[in-house]
Structure formats: structure tokens, C-alpha cells
């Protein structure tokens, strides 16, 4: 379980997060939703210790993220930020190999090799494995980054807008894979999602952020209501039901 209590965060005088307290359940697929600038990514980056905490406390399975050595955290959680340019000229397989680095720290063994090949298989990257990262499309690069995060084999996966650059089929495949990992192997996933319907279709738990504060949290049925979503995005939406899950309609 990730416990967040009393977290405030500001950048240059602008308050990004105000007094966030929440607990993200273990063994569930949690989606962070909300309008642009709500602080979803910042919250995820704080959990993943990519940004230093300014106030409050965050713990992961009982480990305070400020006290726990970063090497130990890397074996517990993997965080994938929004893609940044990598200067090193890497082949896709080489990038995915780095996912095993927290385990071997420079001395890979046979099991690391297996994990890398599995991750490449899982994201259909084998045909591209020897291509350079700057020679593949944005979506393919995104999949390579995801494969690296998967190869890290951690209990927790934190993903910042993993669907960026992915087409419909790969987006669906990724969400299905995440849901399957959660259901099958007991892993926990926290992901920032822009398109609410991906959260509606796959998430077990939803946290809705607006203006740096939590507006609603709970099961999809509780959060994804017409009143709540309309207020969250300041846009009228209708909720339908499709195969027993909510479906958010905003086209009219």
C-alpha cells in the first residue's frame, strides 16, 4: 500500500499540490485522472522519488521513501516518467537491459537475460530489438521504455501517461497487460491516464485530482459519475454502461 499524508508541493510560488492524503491499495490497478495541471504527474513523481518531497510523508509498503535507500526502492517500484531524450545511442535491447540494472548493478547473469527477452516479447519488440532508439517511431520507443520498466520486475509500477504515442491496439494491449499483471501476479500499478475511458474500462481504483487537491477517490462506480466527472473537467459528460463498466460519453 502506498500511504500519502499531508503532501504539499509548490514550484516557484505556484502551489501544485495541497495537503494530499490518500492511500493507494496494493494489488490493484489505480488510475490518477484529472484535467491538465491538476498535479497528477507531480504526485506520481513524488511517490517515485523523482522529485524531492517538500512536506508530508509518503510510504510504500511501510517503507518511508525519504528514509529508504534508493537502491532498495528500485527493487520495489519502477517508475516510468514521460519520455525524455536519451543522449546515449542505444539499441532497443540495450535500453530494455537497463531495467535489470537494479538487480545486478553492472554484472548481469543468465536470469537477467531471460527477463529482458521476456519483456521484449511482451511488447512485440523482438523484430526491432537491434534498431537504434532514435530510428524507431515514438510509439515504438514508448513500448521500449515500458519494456524496460517491466524488466525491472518490481511489485509496484508507476506509469506517467504510458499511453502517450500508443495507437489504439497497443493502448488496449497495455491496459489489458497491466490488468492481467494485477490480477494474475498480484502486482500493483499506479498510472496517470488522460483518456478517462481507459480508467473506466480497466482500473480497480480511481483517484481524481483537480487544482492540486483530491476531488474524489474510490472504485470506478463511485468516482465515474456524471456529477463528479462534469465538475472535475468542467464539461458536461454522460455516463453510459458498457459490459458492466462505466463508459464516459463526451462527444455531444
Amino acid at each position: 500500500m502506498i500511504e500519502i499524508s499531508g503532501v504539499n508541493y509548490s514550484i516557484g510560488g505556484a502551489q501544485i499540490l495541497r495537503d494530499i492524503s490518500a492511500s493507494l491499495p496494493k494489488g490493484k490497478l489505480t488510475a490518477l485522472i484529472g484535467p491538465n495541471g491538476a498535479g497528477k504527474s507531480t504526485l506520481l513523481r513524488l511517490i517515485g522519488r523523482l522529485e524531492p518531497l517538500q512536506s508530508g510523508r509518503i510510504s510504500l509498503d511501510g517503507m518511508d521513501i525519504r528514509q529508504t535507500p534508493t537502491e532498495a526502492l528500485a527493487l520495489k517500484m519502477a517508475i516510468l516518467g514521460q519520455q525524455t531524450h536519451i543522449v546515449s545511442r542505444l539499441r532497443l535491447r540495450e535500453l530494455v537491459r537497463f531495467g535489470r540494472w537494479p538487480h545486478h548493478r553492472g554484472r548481469p547473469c543468465a536470469c537477467d537475460h531471460t527477463a529482458v527477452e521476456e519483456a521484449l516479447d511482451a511488447f512485440e519488440l523482438q523484430p526491432l530489438a537491434t534498431r537504434f532508439l532514435d530510428e524507431v517511431s515514438g510509439g515504438q520507443a514508448q513500448r521500449a521504455h515500458l519494456a524496460m520498466t517491466f524488466a525491472q520486475c518490481t511489485d509496484w509500477l508507476l506509469l506517467d501517461e504510458p499511453l502517450n504515442n500508443l495507437d489504439m491496439a497497443h493502448s488496449r494491449a497495455l491496459m489489458a497487460r497491466l490488468a492481467e499483471m494485477v490480477a494474475g501476479t498480484g502486482k500493483s500499478v499506479v498510472t496517470v491516464v488522460h483518456e478517462v475511458n481507459y480508467a473506466a474500462a480497466w482500473a480497480d481504483h480511481i483517484v481524481a485530482l483537480k487544482d492540486g487537491a483530491i476531488m474524489a477517490q474510490g472504485a470506478p462506480d463511485e468516482v465515474l459519475t456524471e456529477a463528479c466527472l462534469s465538475a472535475l473537467y468542467d464539461t458536461p459528460v454522460t455516463i453510459a454502461n458498457h459490459n458492466g463498466r462505466p463508459l464516459v460519453l463526451h462527444h455531444a
Binding site: E71, V87, S88, R89
Partner: protein, 324 residues
């Protein structure tokens, strides 16, 4: 312990470079040696210079590769960011405070070690704050670094104007690169320190690979990012101070070497890149100096040619849009 796997290609590259350096070194030592007479004297003289050239080359090459990994940029070099002008500034301030006699009275080795120590500390503070947490803003980092470099150079020439003209002459000699004035007294210290720094860099190799992925990915993989950045910068400072003390500042040489290294060794692994950079740089200097001293009869300066070639290469990188 399992040795890291090295691809065939890289093994050939490293072996080839080693053989090339060995060949040029042998040529340097033995070419035109008189059949008798002062052979041992000449050999000793040549040996000093050869060792100097190799240390200067290897240190510069490795420092540049290290720095480019920390900076996340393939066009920046420690020189462009003002590392070596910082060292020259330190020396000028020393001359200003103690006078020529005072500086000359200092024991060479201790003075050198002290200078390297101060330089490392300053570089870590200045460039550590620049590249540590704020490194995400690369254009700002580059701009600040370039301005710092100009500041050091200007301060240096300002001090040069203020001090006594004779002292200035000494200072000026320090601020120009010359491969002919390798200080034999300084060489053992430079050699020892360079070896230590190179071993340190090789020990960091795997972490440097992760560092090369950028701060975010590195932190996610459990790398102590800030610590590795500071350690690497300290190594860069040491590896820049040594060549600057031995021959003076050489601006574009590092860029040339780092560019060639990344071009030749098609890998991002520092366990390969670092020795390759050291070997390429040392070979270039030994071969270049051989050409100028023996073939062209001292008719040109190696440093001028290096700056010229390096400048052209820099333009090429700029025009190809490799600056990111």
C-alpha cells in the same frame, strides 16, 4: 566474478588502438636514434615526452567523455565550460599572491597536488550545482557554463594586466598550450594521479552507463544520481588539471576525441568508451608530435593544428544538428 561481455567488434577496436599506440610509441622512441653516443640520454628525453603525451592525451579524452555523459550533451567539453581556464586562473592568482620567487620556491609536487585539490573542490561546487538538480534545463546549463568559462578567462587576463610585467610573462606561458614544454618534475605526479582517476572512472563505468540515460531513468533504476554526478565531476576536474598543468589548455582536442570515440565504438558502454577515448587521444598526440617534430622539423605547432581540426569538427557537429 563474471567479466562483462565485450562484443567482437569492440574487442577488435580496443586491440587495434592499443597496437597502433604501441607502434607509434616504438617509432617515437627508436626513429633516427644514433648508432652510438648519447643513446641513453636521448632515450630518456624521448621517454619523458612520450609519457607526457600519453598522459595528456588519455586524460583529456577520458575527461571529455565523462563530462559529456554528466552533461547529457555531445558537444560540450570541460574546456568549453571553463574547467581549464579555472585551472589557469588558479595559477595566475597564485603568482599574483606569492610572486614568481614565491611560486618557484614551492615544491613542485605539493603545489601541483594542492592546485588539483582546490580545482576539484571549486569545479564540484560550481558545476555540481549547475549539473546536479538543475540539469534538466540543458540550454541554461550550457549558457551558464560558457559564461563561467569566459568569466574565468577574463579574470585571468585582468589579473595579467594588474600584475608585474615579468610575472605576466610567466603567467602567459601557462595559458598557452605547448607540447614541447612537458615538465619532467611534474610528470610522476601527473602520471600517478591520472592513473588513479582513470581507475576510478572505470570503477564507475556501469553507473555512468545508467547516468547516460538521463536523471529520471537513472533515479528510477536506483542510481544515487547526485552522488555519481559529483564524483564524475571530481574525476573530470582532476583529469583536466593534469594536462593543463603539463602542457597548457587545449580547447578542442577533447571534443575531437570524444566525437571520434562515439563514432568508432558503436556502444554506449563506458567500460569500452573510456579506454577507447584514452587510446585514441594518446595515439593522436604521439602520432601528431612525431609528424611535427621529426618529419616537418618543428615547422608547425601541434596545438595549432589540433585547434584547427577540432574547430572544423565542432562546426561539422553544429551543422549536422548534433547539438541537443
Amino acid at each position: 566474478m563474471q567479466l562483462p561481455e565485450i562484443s567482437r567488434q569492440n574487442l577488435i577496436l580496443l586491440t587495434g588502438l592499443t597496437l597502433l599506440l604501441a607502434a607509434f610509441s616504438a617509432l617515437w622512441m627508436l626513429q633516427g636514434l644514433p648508432p652510438e653516443g648519447n643513446r641513453s640520454f636521448i632515450l630518456k628525453l624521448r621517454w619523458t615526452k612520450l609519457a607526457g603525451l600519453i598522459v595528456v592525451g588519455a586524460a583529456t579524452g577520458i575527461a571529455t567523455v565523462l563530462f559529456q555523459t554528466v552533461a547529457g550533451n555531445r558537444v560540450l567539453t570541460p574546456s568549453i565550460m571553463g574547467f581549464d581556464s579555472l585551472y589557469v586562473l588558479l595559477q595566475t592568482s597564485l603568482v599574483m599572491m606569492l610572486g614568481i620567487a614565491g611560486v618557484a620556491a614551492l615544491p613542485v609536487g605539493e603545489k601541483f597536488l594542492l592546485e588539483v585539490g582546490v580545482m576539484t573542490l571549486l569545479a564540484c561546487i560550481l558545476f555540481g550545482t549547475l549539473l546536479g538538480r538543475g540539469a534538466r534545463d540543458i540550454p541554461r546549463t550550457i549558457l551558464t557554463g560558457v559564461i563561467l568559462g569566459i568569466l574565468f578567462r577574463s579574470l585571468n587576463s585582468f589579473l595579467g594586466r594588474v600584475i608585474d610585467p615579468i610575472e605576466f610573462a610567466v603567467v602567459q606561458q601557462n595559458s598557452m598550450a605547448s607540447f614541447s614544454r612537458i615538465d619532467a618534475n611534474l610528470l610522476p605526479y601527473g602520471l600517478g594521479l591520472a592513473l588513479l582517476a582513470m581507475v576510478g572512472a572505470m570503477l564507475l563505468a556501469s553507473r555512468l552507463d545508467v547516468l547516460g540515460l538521463g536523471r529520471e531513468v537513472a533515479v528510477s533504476l536506483g542510481l544515487r544520481h547526485e552522488r555519481v554526478v559529483i564524483l564524475t565531476l571530481a574525476l573530470v576536474a582532476v583529469l583536466v588539471a593534469i594536462p593543463t598543468a603539463l602542457v597548457g589548455p587545449i580547447t578542442f582536442f577533447g571534443l575531437l576525441v570524444a566525437g571520434m570515440t562515439h563514432g568508432l565504438a558503436q556502444t554506449a558502454r563506458h567500460a569500452i568508451l573510456l579506454p577507447a577515448a584514452g587510446l585514441i587521444a594518446a595515439t593522436m598526440l604521439v602520432a601528431g608530435q612525431l609528424l611535427f617534430e621529426r618529419v616537418m622539423g618543428q615547422a608547425a605547432f601541434l596545438s595549432v593544428i589540433i585547434e584547427f581540426a577540432g574547430g572544423l569538427f565542432f562546426m561539422y557537429l553544429l551543422l549536422k544538428g548534433r547539438i541537443r
